[in-house]
Subunit: 276 residues, 3 copies
Amino acid sequence: MAQLLPSQTAIHYWQRVRSTVPLTLCLTNNVVTNWTANVLLAAHASPAMLDDDSEAEALAAVASALLINVGTLNATHAQAMTKAVASAKRAGKPWVLDPVAVGLLPLRTALCRNLLRENPTVVRGNPSEILTLAGETAKCRGADSTQGSEEALMAAKHLALEAKTIVAVTGASDYITDGERTWRIDNGHPLLQRVTGTGCALSALVAAYVSTASNKSEVLEAAASACAVFSVAGEEAAQKTLDRNEGTGSFAVYLLDALAMLDEITLEKRMERKMR
Amino acid sequence: MAQLLPSQTAIHYWQRVRSTVPLTLCLTNNVVTNWTANVLLAAHASPAMLDDDSEAEALAAVASALLINVGTLNATHAQAMTKAVASAKRAGKPWVLDPVAVGLLPLRTALCRNLLRENPTVVRGNPSEILTLAGETAKCRGADSTQGSEEALMAAKHLALEAKTIVAVTGASDYITDGERTWRIDNGHPLLQRVTGTGCALSALVAAYVSTASNKSEVLEAAASACAVFSVAGEEAAQKTLDRNEGTGSFAVYLLDALAMLDEITLEKRMERKMR
Amino acid sequence: MAQLLPSQTAIHYWQRVRSTVPLTLCLTNNVVTNWTANVLLAAHASPAMLDDDSEAEALAAVASALLINVGTLNATHAQAMTKAVASAKRAGKPWVLDPVAVGLLPLRTALCRNLLRENPTVVRGNPSEILTLAGETAKCRGADSTQGSEEALMAAKHLALEAKTIVAVTGASDYITDGERTWRIDNGHPLLQRVTGTGCALSALVAAYVSTASNKSEVLEAAASACAVFSVAGEEAAQKTLDRNEGTGSFAVYLLDALAMLDEITLEKRMERKMR
């Protein structure tokens, strides 16, 4: 199995984001724009959301990082995303692909296949999405895929190598891999599945974090650190929610609170607990 | 007057939704996408939101139910909605129409008139919207409409019979009718009017609930049960808000909490209280 | 320096909005639609959001006020906004321009320049946006602009005179000016910067408030009163957040609560405190 990410690594990139407040351009789905912006603000990053393709192209060249999320894709947005990715690449800026529900639906599947050829800095998805994308490149999956964590990790490694990218497959455990080295995060809480857009917002956070990396090894660490920070904040929020016998509405509020109030001691304590 | 829905009926459909977690495709307005998804998740349903017409057509065929809400309609969305409705009907899936502000504005009025001919499984609206739609079919209203509850019920019955649908007209009391049989819900709280999208989210919940019905009589019960569950959760949230001297922001959070934490005892207790 | 707005003025317009519940049509960016609607509802106004240009044109003629916010502008929305402004002007209704990120991005910069020629009732922006717009008309800025508060006030005055409008430039202090008379608000809290869309929602509130004004002097007072109400609510919410050691998620909830629960005594107490 993959090695657990050391808490000191997560703390290091958490400090980098706090000190740089990266401008993170999000071309994302219309369900999560507000939530994603508030997650980024809580986590000490600076969000920017746009719609028009010429504006997306212009801002992608100067933002610190770019997120592409295909959750409510339409043909106009597909064009804006393609232009933004090209602009980010010309400017040497990192970009993250979140292939929401790829494989199930036609327009997004075509766009994700095209964007995968543009070597995203990171692809973040759930096991099902990563297995689908890996099947598109490596053809390593059969119809009997059970989409368990280990299978998803194998698919993530294939996908990372084939598409020359870093893949973050997140779920009960998160795996972040370049195909050769892999970090694992065991933090998190099932309540994260009961609020819409937690995965989408994590992808935006990954974009913010990898903007502070200066080489591919750092990108791997930075992406894993974003997953760690988000998972630890999820644990903090879940504990408060359960302690107070509250529900998913309060949990979402406490998740933002936890991201905003997170400190080194909390990160270390909750990540080290998983080491034992 | 119509008979109060028995709490045992609401509990029955609440249990069905909990056990089936229906995938509810929402083509809804851009003000309430996030809120609607979080209401569905809190209420143990599974939301899906889309924008593109080809994707909407594809998912409507496999989702458990479809919601059409015209709140921020544009011509592109009207086309996607028309295709999704046709797809849902071909696949035998239930669909709900929420005719936000019909009559007042041109594009949505035309679309609602067209969609009404497609026999929606349920139409949910406020008294004003139902009176408008009933006027479109039954011409039973004059210009001196006072839009009181009883008048709205009469209009709802007309509309249900003319359009061969079930109509849920919600307000201080909710009435759910197929034109012949009518259920009434007296639960709820005025604070529900002070948060945007409560009616829109209720319509999505109605779609989730009617996906568990296997005939028209069950659809009537399931739609009424969704209204009951939402109204009881509203009472729970309002009580907590007022007890703590808080405002509309906390109420919205507590409404999600109440939907997530609802149980049979709370449903029974709050619904039986209205029987006395 | 400009004079502090008297608390009695803010209270006066706060009462007017409570008693008229102005219907405020918002053509705004897709990040803040839900948030803006909930801010307006909390603050005792009535929100309406639309997308289609024909519907926008129709409703702008009958709404109490119109907000134009270019945050996620696209070409289709630009057309709807232009039509809505023309419709509001024909009907003699006030309208507010929020020039989000003007100057940085091409499409919105062109639209804002065009709309400025239509004499918006109020322009509300941050110092950077107002300095950019003022540069477009008065050419009073050099490249060494430090965008401090006093410079922004000078730019706001230029802009107000050139565009025959009232300018609200908001930040640590808010200045509301017609170019000759200026009101200042010193209330507020830095946490307002850590939630997305606070400025956008304030612009919508300004639109609601100026709908209660019957001449240009009253517009100046009403716009300043909206800024005061929002800033005082921000202080109330920040105090509760800090008292409870919570973060940005709770702050956003408490801001809505504070707007909903605000009263004359709180407004007077917090505004008078700045007079000393």
